[in-house]
């Protein structure tokens, strides 16, 4: 707790801020796991018993937010507290983009990770939260490398590709993973003097772009979210490079949540072992209904929120 983040993006001088190393450290510990959306302690318990490595507390799962409309906000404090009392695994919660007061409330509650999420209704259409000044680490969504690096420059300790939350359709998650990894691969092919122009194109800080060009990977763990509804979806995201997966509506909108949750955990661990995947896919209940992307207008697409 003594060290500062060091990237100089605000927050410095705040004695309560936690070092970036510790924040990324927890993200490292979540690799290879499944983070499950839950709306009450009973669901949180099912998630933990099924092998989730963390739960995400929220008021409504994305598919319900999509169906019911209205402003989607941070989860009620009592629900978060009851989930924290119920499970021993990390508890995450979402704040609206730019709503640093919601973030301060979650930080004071001691949540293990804050998701500044496009699934909720944005509070600020220009600025994301300055994430360095908090004790809790942040995860943010991204559709491409530039967006990922902008969030990291604001202090995000984990990136998740956005996909399209609540759609039950994996196509956007695949698009975003391929985009991020493809852009990282193409950066590695550049000569050093070509990197600044690419940084400009990506609208990302030069130092971070240079670092990716050298290492070929993001400086923080890179997970996938948005539309994962089956064990095979989870394995596909792992195969495309995601180090862990977030599953939102997919589990608790399915016919048998506990069975599907266990199956997705199994597929996330054994993503490159076809026999294990076959076993994971046996005996599943009815999956959630999916949505064709063509039926969603641009304004209905949650991934378009955030910049």
């Amino acid at each position: 707790m003594s060290e500062q983040a060091g990237n100089g993006n605000g927050g410095a001088g705040d004695a309560t801020a936690q070092s970036f190393e510790l924040k990324v450290g927890l993200a490292e510990m979540l690799k290879g796991g499944v983070i499950m959306d839950v709306v009450n302690p009973d669901q949180a318990k099912i998630a933990e018993d099924s092998g989730a490595c963390a739960v995400m507390a929220l008021e409504r799962v994305p598919s319900d937010i999509r169906r019911d409309g209205g402003v989607a906000r941070m989860c009620q404090v009592e629900i978060i507290e009851s989930i924290q009392r119920t499970v021993s695994i990390p508890v995450m919660a979402k704040v609206r983009i730019g709503h640093y007061l919601e973030a301060q409330i979650l930080d004071a509650l001691g949540v293990d990770f804050i998701d500044e999420s496009e699934v909720l209704t944005p509070a600020d259409e220009e600025h994301h939260v300055d994430k360095f000044g908090f004790r809790s680490p942040f995860v943010c969504g991204a559709r491409d490398l530039g967006e990922a690096l902008r969030r990291i420059s604001e202090g995000a300790a984990m990136i998740r590709t956005k996909g399209e939350a609540g759609s039950g359709n994996i196509v956007e998650a695949v698009r975003h993973l391929r985009t991020v990894f493809g852009q990282m691969r193409s950066l590695q092919a550049l000569l050093p003097e070509e990197v600044p122009a690419r940084a400009k194109e990506l609208r990302a800080p030069l130092d971070l772009v240079q670092r990716v060009a050298e290492t070929g990977c993001l400086p923080v763990p890179n997970f996938a979210a948005g539309g994962i509804a089956t064990p095979a979806d989870a394995a596909l995201c792992r195969s495309l490079g995601a180090e862990a997966v977030f599953v939102g509506s997919g589990i608790f909108k399915s016919g048998d949540p506990a069975v599907l949750a266990r199956a997705i955990v199994r597929a996330t661990t054994h993503w490159d072992e076809p026999e294990e995947l076959v076993a994971a896919c046996r005996g599943l209940g009815k999956p959630m209904e999916g949505i064709e992307m063509e039926t969603l207008s641009e304004s209905q697409r949650l991934a378009n929120r955030g910049w």
Binding site: L22, G25, L26, M29, K31, G32, G51, I89, R266
Partner: protein, 202 residues
């Protein structure tokens, strides 16, 4: 395209298995590579064949525990440890090696005579970094939602402490840390594991 390799193949003298059910596998793999040994991932009992040492990494102990149960690795890991080959557990791995687990119990292997208390320091906002006291001078230790080890038995050697609590312990061929040596460049904990493996091979 793969997210991470499943093994390294240098012509190394020692081969270390890393339990790869869930958690921070890659930082341990990097530390083992830096120390000049080879590593391979362990997800099934047959993966333990021909290994000289084993690492149980950090991650979520409930998740890892359920994964070990599912593939029948508990029994295989017990047999591995009984063969005298060294095992290192870090954070969640230390919990899984303890004799007893308090707080939110998970099944443990009982390789070290201590009681592990899960989430003993609090949530992530209480995670911290400090310098441990003990034989390894200036050992920088990172604690992430760390457990605490209580009541070490007479056969347990305490190699490092923080605020009086054991954070690095050894019982015969079993080593455990409640902190994360794989997240710092200090290679001494991994070197201790490899040294035990080397001694056994001689």
């Amino acid at each position: 395209m793969v997210a991470a390799g499943r093994q390294s193949r240098p012509a190394a003298e020692l081969r270390v298995g890393i339990v790869s059910v869930q958690g921070a596998v890659q930082p341990h793999a990097a530390a083992i590579t830096r120390a000049g040994a080879a590593w391979t991932r362990v997800r099934h009992p047959e993966d333990l064949d021909e290994l000289d040492a084993l690492i149980l990494p950090g991650g979520e102990s409930t998740t890892i525990s359920k994964g070990l149960e599912r593939v029948g690795l508990y029994e295989a890991l017990e047999a591995f440890a009984q063969s005298g080959r060294p095992v290192l557990g870090t954070c969640a791995g230390a919990i899984l090696m303890a004799r007893e687990v308090e707080g939110f119990p998970v099944r443990s292997l009982g390789l070290i005579d201590v009681t592990a208390v899960r989430n003993a320091y609090g949530t992530q906002v209480d995670s911290f970094a400090t310098v441990a006291q003990g034989e390894l001078e200036g050992l920088r230790a990172i604690f992430i939602r760390a457990p605490r080890l209580k009541r070490p038995g007479p056969d347990v050697e305490v190699l490092a402490r923080v605020d009086g609590w054991p954070v690095f312990v050894r019982q015969q061929n079993a080593l455990a840390t409640t902190f994360h040596p794989e997240l710092t460049p200090d290679g001494r904990v991994h070197a201790a594991l490899l040294e035990l493996a080397r001694k056994r091979k001689r």
